[in-house]
Symmetry: C2
Subunit: 155 residues, 2 copies
DNA sequence: TATTGTTATACTCTATAACTATA
DNA sequence: TATAGTTATAGAGTATAACAATA
């Protein structure tokens, strides 16, 4: 077996091609860390038949009961036509209600159902627990530093 | 105008519904920061008719000339059938060549074309410049801290 | 006139299964 | 038997334009 064949073998086992300068890119590091979080959380999301995107919508409604669809769209950078399909799904899962808005008859006021509230409490707890266990080898000050640095990219 | 109408008005202007506990989630902060980076880089990617995903593939090939498709798939968590379409695009853009592998006739050895090498030099420079300008209000030590913390999520 | 939500549509991304040629 | 690459296909996500109801 030649040296180049050995390298290929080792690559295959480790799944580790070099990505050169990309490994020093913030965009790559963010994507890479997010991929890990996504993988860890996906089991919970699957169990409740939602996705990270739908989870964001549920959170927005949970903390802003009665908000309009467009408000959620703007906050989460979701297209208004995509929001229709997403809410249809969440309504079918009986997590969300669309009620007529008292202020503006064009708008729908969004609310979690009782079932939605209960499910969200469970999901939020599980997600938070998973994050904590992912951060066990980070000190308290490292965690706050990381969060504070990331917050500075908000907007 | 009532107080609730004022709140709605202010929400609309600021696009700022509260996301409650989600704002303390690492997963949310990562996604949020990544969205900003994605937005900033998208103009460059559009100009070269590529996407962040295709950029990752180009980088992998650039730093591992002659690598197989499956090696890139494994490194970047891309499905092998999706890789076919991605490489078809990159070949049509004349960024990439698929050559027969000398070691294993099942494999294709991937290489950047001359045009691909030139384009990648330009793109990598622009991307790095954009990141630098995004990080202007971070001190040198803040930047290294951020990157080192994020690296610890790598696998 | 402008905005909210909807539909229709199209395009991309992703994932699965079945196939081929090679090992 | 197993692997690399391909095709076909179906599902999800995303974006655009046109529309009805309402402001």
């Amino acid at each position: 077996m030649t040296q180049s064949e050995l390298n290929q073998e080792s690559d295959r086992e480790q799944n580790r091609l070099s990505l050169g300068s990309m490994e020093d890119l913030l965009a790559y590091r963010l994507r890479s860390a997010q991929y890990l979080l996504f993988t860890v959380h996906s089991e919970v999301f699957n169990r409740y038949k939602i996705t990270p995107g739908l989870y964001g919508i549920l959170i927005a409604i949970r903390y802003n009961p009665g908000c309009s669809q467009i408000a959620v769209c703007n906050r989460l950078h979701i297209d208004s036509s995509a929001m229709v399909a997403a809410l249809d799904k969440l309504q079918k899962l009986e997590f969300v209600e669309r009620r007529p808005s008292p202020n503006d008859r064009r708008q729908r006021a969004l609310y979690l159902t009782e079932h939605g509230v209960a499910a969200m409490q469970e999901i939020e707890t599980e997600v938070a627990t998973q994050e904590k266990s992912l951060l066990t080898n980070f000190s308290t000050s490292e965690r706050t530093t990381l969060m504070q640095l990331l917050e500075r990219f908000d907007r």
